[in-house]
Symmetry: C2
Subunit: 204 residues, 2 copies
């Protein structure tokens, strides 16, 4: 009887193995060989999933954003508006070891995309998706009267993207300055500024 | 008579050639061979200036920040406070082709530094220097009564660094969204927010 391979399941196993290798050894060491070994497959099988090193980077990038998005949606299920935005920001930022790896993957991806139009296109689409997600929280906050009357939602989305990008980068490159505590200070300062009353965002 | 080599002058020639190669062909193509050809020296001579590819990246990084700093100091010679901060921000951001190359060098450097403690240390020192420079403008603005009474200067410095980092990255990776015009909108919005009266920063 021929063996039935569940491709979706195997792909998931390969991506999980990819993430474990990146988290343990860094992106540079995440070769097809290392991922195959971690997943328990031959390199031959891996070629069905990754054609080259750039493919691994693209998969890791998508995986990092999917993981962050899943966490954000789970964390904000019972909350809306500014309170949800705060929880979402705390999930997006590299405040623990796991999310630090996600930020490392993104900063590597950004660096590689400088001279690579294909990667720039992929990252640009990720930016678009991120802006939609942040906008949904800002729309809720606006509908709930939590923002100032003159709030420009499109520009506030840019502010959120800038905050997440720059705090993540500094946390990696300049960790003595941009500690986890300092990231939370800057998040709460941002939320206080955009909130209608200027009050600190509610903790949960 | 032995030829007298002016090492400082030759180093300057080599760095100028390095910058021209990066601007023309991108950082990935800026090899020792290409730089030697551009400068009109042998590869042997170049080894006195660069030991390897990483050395070229470090030199390019320092050169990019030195160029931006020189422009900022020149542009703000006759101005102080918020007006000077505005001119400085416009010099720091990738609003034209020349400064776009500086931003590309920095984003490449950030990406490479993820897995490289030596590069992280160098970039961390650059952050420290940048913070001092931005702080000097904020101190002037504060002394001139241009900031709100409760302005936290240290946190405002972080805001400026975040703005420059994130706008530069998005301008490279997502240029359709983060156009030069949009960067200026976000700069003026930031300046209006930190100014005591909330008024737009004076144009010059």
């Amino acid at each position: 009887m021929p063996k039935i391979v569940d491709h979706a399941e195997r792909r998931r196993e390969v991506l999980d193995a990819t993430w474990r290798v990146i988290a343990r050894t860094g992106l540079d060491s995440a070769t097809t060989r290392a991922i195959a070994e971690e997943a328990g497959y031959s390199i031959g099988v891996l070629t069905h999933y990754f054609s080259d090193k750039q493919d691994i980077l693209v998969s890791a990038h998508r995986l990092a954003f999917a993981r962050a998005r899943d966490r954000i949606l789970a964390a904000t299920r019972e909350t809306t508006g500014i309170a949800a935005l705060r929880l979402a920001l705390l999930e997006a930022l590299p405040l623990d070891a796991e999310r630090f790896v996600e930020a490392q993957v993104d900063v590597s991806f950004l660096g590689q995309s400088v001279g690579n139009a294909h990667l720039r296109g992929i990252r640009s689409a990720t930016y678009e998706g991120s802006r939609r997600l942040w906008r949904s929280f800002l729309d809720q906050a606006d509908a709930g009267g939590e923002l100032g009357p003159d709030a420009d939602l499109a520009l506030l989305v840019d502010d959120v993207v800038c905050l997440v990008d720059s705090l993540s980068i500094q946390a990696i490159v300049d960790p003595d300055h941009m500690t986890a505590d300092h990231q939370v200070v800057l998040v709460d300062r941002f939320l206080a500024r955009v909130s209608a009353g200027g009050a600190p965002a509610p903790a949960r």
